[in-house]
Structures are given as structure tokens and as C-alpha cells.
Symmetry: C2
């Protein structure tokens, strides 16, 4: 292959050789990676923004990017307490100043004391700063009603993505029919399919039930698993709860069923729980996989292997840029844990400002502390606005003929189904695009709204969707919803 | 393999199954990863620190960790200007305050204006914030005497490690004899061997010449390459200049020879230049690979594919915890560049505080700005102290019988050769340790000094070394050198 080709070229003369690294000679797994959330539609959106700046006339004056869960970019203000502590950690001379509340200073001092040379510019332990891992463990214990958590099982990470990819990397082995298979939901968050392509693992798709509010059915898990057993070695089950891009919140019963299934089928569970504070719908509640696992008794809690992921990027703080996060591993073989610790040490450590931020998230101001009132006011305001926008989004979309939308029970997205006329589907094929990409590109060009086509997340054959974040400020969201409504009616009419 | 084994166990009864993820069933590439800089000796050092805290009596009162280039942990103070701007970016309310100089505020405003929602909590573009990439390009142009640099070729990263691993990942393909081979120096920085193990690429070792101050000889490159062609497809040549762990600074002539070799042999060049400001020795100068490449004329500058790496963790700033860095790619195929951009988008973006920090490094205070004097004073003091410690280290070690030490021309490390008595080598074998690990462990237990054995970096068969950073404050470094001296004499005597 590459070897003989290179030699042949050498005979023909050095100066006529092509590049060392080309599309043909690069890592083929990387070529298979797709990541729609920042794919071609977003690149076009950035281009349009530049055109607008250069004075090119468009039917709109700004591009609204509802493609990614990026709260601050959509105007959400940072939580004061978090940023005060970060400023103190960055420039400790401010500790001498009296402009910051005492609890912010106390947190900053504690973080700095656990840093090498009392500086967030020092590397931390590769697993993360010890006192922060202790705070994470205590946070999990509070969240799960006292079920014990050990700092030794906590790994801080560069956002949740980093920890998810690391965990998948540990789990992938074998060749051909023995290659590791990983079960992921469809629709899914495309980090998963991208990581599996990169690792050369086998993706096993199980479908969420759109008709039942994107719920997860164990019968469907079993169908997918049995089919996959013919061609790979299924070892991992990934769950996103609350759901991305689908916004559903799983019931306790469903989680119990999933855990039972994982145990029966000898699967490692990966629970992506980064939206654990983002639950809006009446009657819905976040149940952590760990809590349910432990409530199922020792037969489960001492055997089922699991990793749970959390992040500073979502919930009420939305601090995506800091790339903070953690994973908790449960029932992991100690020898494997040593390998995990070794593996993360190669990258030295997660960014320390992100670790500091995570510490504040898991150890927020307490009722007797000076920052408590403001902190709670800000936190509550963000979550209440999100709940309101979740309701508004569902309601508005469901008034549009040809759009049907499940309730946004949690997370930050809606994934409505759109009915596309056959002529539009044909037109898209003519243009060499999948139909919902064509739809979203037209929406972008005509209304300046950037969404992600459902095909980027996976959907049942013949159905079409898009993902939209509910993050724009309420008044702007209303405009966005109205514009999508008008576009959809116009688009449908054009092709009918 | 794993598939049939799992089925067999299922027949024997579900409850007796072992774990899903064990040492036998995990990713075998991960098992092959080694990273000595944070390996067993550092784990033991952390343990000893805990024992000291618990009151266990030791022949010393503190552990001095000279195993890793972590300047702040060794007491180096952050550069004021950098931290002022970071505090302003973290908590923009401080912009209203008059405690910060105007140039710091100006930098912070510019960074914030290029962030989504004017917040460093927003995701940035995956390639990095555009105005920071512009600043990086201008910095490179200034450094290289005006040779053009384009922001489109700049990728910001999570420390240099991230970019190095990403670049290697793009380059690895093929199976068996066609598998990509990557040339790395011996001794090397173990990120390289770790990444190659993880990616299943073939490591091609070329030896630096210890007798010639760790210089690089093209004849040795050719020897290594020709040997490797028998069993893999060599495509990449990695260079670290200034050297880690060896501290040499390459001459312009050497760099020219390496570039000519890369062109002749059709190799992609990876130039790890993270110590570019750390040059101490009289007559030594940092020459960037890019500058030399362009000075060699269009035959080279328009063909040789290259990536160069830089970081915020080293030089005078030593801000390891922020995980900032960049890579510049040169002559990269545009289609491959699109694949690279896609690949980095899966992880969303490098940490934004690290990006902001990088911006200040490439765009520091100018002579007409209020922070200039303090900034230059701090920067010069750090670099002057490092130069003094480099000299002190070499001089002291070379007075110890059985230790020989090349000059520390640059970077932050010394990699002295130690002569070990045969009886010590035998004793180490008895204990199941490689001899220099045994030596370093004894040094740690007896003197509380944590170094990394040469075997963690690679060395010629039968020779032994250790890597020590020159980062401890001068007075403490003197103590460390003295203690190593005494230990070495004692150790040698014990086994002679």
C-alpha cells in the first residue's frame, strides 16, 4: 500500500512527489468522524456573519446561532459568585481588597492552598486537585441522599467530552467480530458517534420512542443488542439523561430497567448526566443512575460497572469556555483504574481554572454565607427562564402545521419533527443534500437562524427533525420561533 | 476471543461473571502507554508527603519535586500583567475599578469583545478565538523576521500536548508493514512514546549524541530510518528544540540538515518548540524550524510539510495549569486541514482562559504602555534566574565523581549521566527494578528528592541518567545539588 507507492514515487524522482499527508494517506478513522453541531451549516453561518459585517445585504441583520448549547453566547450572564472566586484565584492580590465578599475569598484561599505554589498556574494532580475531588464526592452524596462517594473514584476532566472519550478509549478492544460494540441512543449527541469512529469501535444504535416522548424502551435495547451480537462484541451502554438532543427526562422505573438490562447483558454503563439541574416539566425529576443503582440493592450496587459524567458547561452556570467537568467511576476494577490514572497523566491535568469553577458548582454558597442570596437569585432566575422557554418552544412549534414537538422536559434543546413535502425531498436530492440539511440551509440563508439538521443526530429512516437550543433570551426566542413558523409555512407551500 | 469467553461464562451462570472491564479486556494500546514524568516514583513521592504530614519520621522534612517542569509549583511567581488581564476577563466588573493599568484593561476588553456574549464562559471557535489567532500569527512574523504567518494556519490547543497528539492522530494509518512510523529522539519526552503506543503507531528511535552535547546527527537519522523501512512506513520526524529532557539548543546548520533530510525522505516534520524563550548558553540562539525552512528558499518553503508547537506552560510565564498553546501548520493539504478542523471541533474548543493567556504571551505590553516596565523586569528576572541555575547545575554535577553533565543550553532540565557500580545494578535486578529507577527511588527515600529515571525517556543500552528540572529557587537548588552529590557518593561507596 502506502509503502510501495512511496517507493515507486521515489524512483520517479524526489521533486515530483506529492504531499506526505493527504486525504488518501491520513488516518481513515478521522475521515469517518462527523460532528454536525459544528458542521457545514455552522461554517456557513460564520461566513454569513462576515458578509453582514462587510455590508452584504441579507433579509436579516444578525445570525442567531441556536445550534449549540452555549448559554453565555446567547446572552446569559455569568453567576457573580463563580466569577468573583475565579478573579481572586487568577490575581490573588485581590484577596487584600475589600470589594469581594468573605465567602468568595474563603473559597479562593482554599483552592489556592491546594495548588502547587498556591498558584492556579501550577499543574494539578492528573486526576484533579484532591480537595476539589473531595468536594465533588460530598456533592454527589448530598445529591443521592447519602449514598457514599469516594474522591478516589472522581476524575476531573476537560469538560465532559474529554472524560467520555477517555472512558470509551479504555473500553475498546478486539478485532472483527470481537470488536467492542457501544450502544448509543438515536437520536444521539454526535460526540458519541464521532468518538466511536475515531476509536474504530462499532456503533450499536437503539432508537428512542418519539411517540412516547422520546422514552427508552428495554425491548428496543434488546433488539439492538441481539442484532449487534452477530457482528461485534457489545460491551457498553451509553445513556444521556436528561436527553440531548431530545430533551426527555427518564423516569425512575426506566432507569431501573436499564440497569437491570445492563447487568443481565454484562454491559458497562456510561451515564451522561450533564443536564442534571436542567429539569423543567411538571412531574419530572432527575434521578441519578448511581442513586437508582444503589437503591436496587447490593446485587446491583456491588456489580454493575458504571461511569457518570458531569460538566460546568450546562445547568444554571453555562460556563462552556472553562472546560470543567468530572466523572465518577463505580465498581471499576482497581487495575483498570490504575491504567485510567496513568492514561490521564499523559495529558498532565485538566485546566485548573475549570477545576476551580467545578469546585464552586459542587460547593456553592450556603444559607449563612454573604453570597447566598445573590447566588440563589441568579441561579433561580436562569433555571426559571429556561423552564419558561422550554414551555414556550413546545407550545409554539405545536401550533405550526407540519411541525410536531415533544415537551422539553429537560436539558436545553427541542428536537421537533418536521414534515417535508416530497418535492422538497426531491429538490434536496438534486442539490446533493440530505433533506433536513437542505431545509436548515434554506432557513439559515433566508432568516439568519442556525439550527442543526436531525440527520446530524440520527433519526428513523424517512423522518426529519432539527435541533434547536432554547437558550436565546425570551423575547429573541419568540422572534426565532415566529420566523421558523413563517419559514416552514413558506417552504411547505413552495414545494406543495 | 472476548466474544466466546463472555458466552461461556453466561452458560455457567450470570451471577458468576467477572467484570466487563478488566486488565485482560481493556484497550491493549492503553496498557502499553508509559509516562514516567508522572509515573511510580511520583506516586511514591506523593505518598511520602502524606506520611510526613501524618508525622512519620523521615531523614528530611519536605519532598522536593524536581520531576516536572512546573515553575509555579517550585515557587516562581506569576507575571503580574498576565494575571491582571485574566482577573479582568473572569470578572469584567473590575474594568470599572481603577486598580488595574489601562493596558491590562485594553487587552481584557479586546479579548472579551471577541468572545460570544462577551464572556470567556462561551465556547470559542474550535480552532481558537480569531483575534487571538491573528495575534499569534503576528507574533510568529515578528519572531521570524517577517516571514508571513496566516491565522488560518494557527490552531489554539489545550497545552502543546493536545496539539501534538492531534497531529500524530491525523498522520497514523496503515497496517503491518505499511503502518505509520514516527521518528522520535532518544532521550525523548515521553508524551511522544505514550501517544504512539495509544495510536498503535510504530516508534522509530534515533539517538542524540551525548558526547557532542546531545546534538542531532543526520547520519543517525538516516540509520534509524533505513532500519525502520524494513518493518513500517516512516512518515513523520519529531524534533524537540530546545531539547527535553536533554537541554541542548540546535544550531542553525543542524536544523537546515534536518529539513533537507525531511524533504529528501518525504517526512512530515513536527517541531516541538515550547522552550523557544528558554535559551541560556553563551553563543546559543533559538532558530525556529519555520524561519530556517523559509530561508532555504521556495524549493523547501513551498514543499516541506510541518507543524510547530508552542505552549503557555514554559518560557518565562510557566502557566502550566491554564493549558494554553497553539500549533502552526505549514504546507498542509487544504483537504487535510478541513479534516483537522473537523476533528478539533468534536472537543468543541480549547479552554478559553488558556487562550486569553496565550494572547498576552504573544501580545505583551509594549514600551509605551504602563505595564511594560514591570512586565520586562519580571520576565527578565525569571529568565536570568533560570540561566544562573542552568550554569550552577552543570558546574556542580560535573564536580561529582560518577556524574557527567552536558551544559544546560536551554529548556528547563538537566539529564546527567550517572555511573552505577555493577553491584548496584545487580541489586536493582534483585529488586525487580531498572537500575536508574532503583537509584532514584533510593534518592527519594533517603533525601526526599524526586527525579525521573533516565529509563523513562530512553537512553543508550548500558547507560544511566536522570532528569532533574532546574526550577527550584536558587538557594533550594543548591541544597538539592548538594544532597544529590552526597547521596551519589554514599550510594557508590555502598556498592563498591
Amino acid at each position: 500500500g502506502a509503502l510501495s507507492q512511496s517507493s515507486t514515487q521515489a524512483v520517479n524522482g524526489v521533486s515530483h512527489r506529492g504531499k506526505v499527508l493527504t486525504l488518501d494517506s491520513m488516518n481513515p478513522n478521522v475521515k469517518r468522524v462527523e460532528y454536525a453541531v459544528r458542521g457545514p451549516i455552522v461554517q456557513r453561518a460564520v461566513q454569513i456573519e462576515k458578509e453582514l459585517k462587510e455590508g452584504v445585504k441579507k433579509p436579516f441583520t444578525e445570525v442567531i446561532k441556536a445550534n449549540i448549547g452555549d448559554a453565555h453566547a446567547m446572552g446569559q450572564k455569568p453567576i457573580t459568585f463563580l466569577r468573583q472566586v475565579l478573579a481572586l484565584c487568577s490575581y490573588p492580590e485581590l484577596l487584600e481588597d475589600n470589594m469581594f465578599p468573605e465567602d468568595a475569598k474563603k473559597r479562593a484561599r482554599r483552592i489556592l492552598e491546594s495548588c502547587g505554589g498556591h498558584s492556579i498556574g501550577a499543574y494539578s494532580a492528573s486526576q484533579g486537585i484532591e480537595c476539589i475531588r473531595q468536594d465533588v464526592a460530598r456533592y454527589i452524596e448530598r445529591r443521592d441522599g447519602g449514598i457514599p462517594s469516594s474522591p478516589d473514584n472522581i476524575y476531573l476532566s476537560t469538560g465532559a467530552s474529554d472524560a467520555i472519550v477517555t472512558m470509551l478509549k479504555l473500553l475498546v478492544c478486539g478485532e472483527g467480530r470481537s470488536r467492542t460494540g457501544v450502544m448509543i441512543s438515536i437520536p444521539q449527541y454526535p460526540l458519541y458517534s464521532a468518538a466511536l469512529a475515531d476509536l474504530g469501535a462499532v456503533q450499536i444504535s437503539y432508537y428512542l420512542d418519539e411517540d412516547k416522548c422520546w422514552s427508552l424502551d428495554v425491548a428496543e435495547l434488546r433488539r439492538a443488542l441481539n442484532a449487534a451480537r452477530q457482528h461485534c462484541n457489545p460491551r457498553v451502554l451509553c445513556i444521556i439523561n436528561p436527553g440531548n438532543p431530545t430533551g426527555q427526562v427518564q423516569s425512575r422505573q426506566c432507569i431501573e430497567d436499564v440497569i437491570r438490562f445492563a447487568k443481565e447483558e454484562h454491559l458497562f454503563l456510561m451515564a451522561d448526566e450533564v443536564y442534571q439541574d436542567n429539569v423543567y416539566a411538571e412531574g419530572c425529576k432527575f434521578h441519578s443512575f448511581k442513586k437508582v443503582l444503589f437503591e436496587m440493592g447490593p446485587e446491583y450496587s456491588s456489580t454493575v460497572e458504571m461511569a457518570s459524567f458531569h460538566s460546568t458547561s450546562k445547568c444554571y452556570m453555562g460556563e462552556c469556555g472553562f472546560r470543567g467537568g468530572y466523572m465518577e467511576v463505580i465498581n471499576m476494577d482497581p487495575e483498570v483504574k490504575a491504567q485510567l490514572t496513568k492514561l490521564v497523566s499523559v495529558r498532565l491535568c485538566p485546566p485548573v481554572p475549570g477545576q476551580a469553577l467545578l469546585d464552586l458548582v459542587v460547593n456553592p454558597p450556603q444559607p449563612d454565607e454573604p453570597s447566598y442570596t445573590t447566588f440563589m437569585k441568579e441561579r433561580t432566575a436562569v433555571l426559571a427562564a429556561l423552564a419558561e422557554k422550554a414551555r414556550l418552544t413546545e407550545e409554539t412549534f405545536n401550533t405550526v402545521p407540519g411541525i410536531t414537538c415533544n415537551p422539553v422536559q429537560g436539558a436545553m434543546y427541542t428536537f421537533p419533527r418536521i414534515t417535508l413535502p416530497q418535492k422538497a425531498i426531491d429538490k434536496a436530492k438534486e442539490e446533493g443534500q440530505v433533506p433536513d440539511m437542505y431545509y436548515c440551509m434554506r432557513l439559515l440563508e433566508e432568516e439568519g437562524i442556525c439550527l442543526v439538521p436531525g440527520s446530524g443526530f440520527g433519526q428513523r429512516e424517512g423522518t426529519f427533525h432539527f435541533r434547536m437550543t432554547i437558550l436565546p433570551p425570551t423575547e429573541k426566542l419568540k422572534v426565532v420561533l415566529q420566523k421558523i413558523r413563517e419559514f416552514h409555512l413558506r417552504f411547505t407551500q413552495e414545494f406543495s
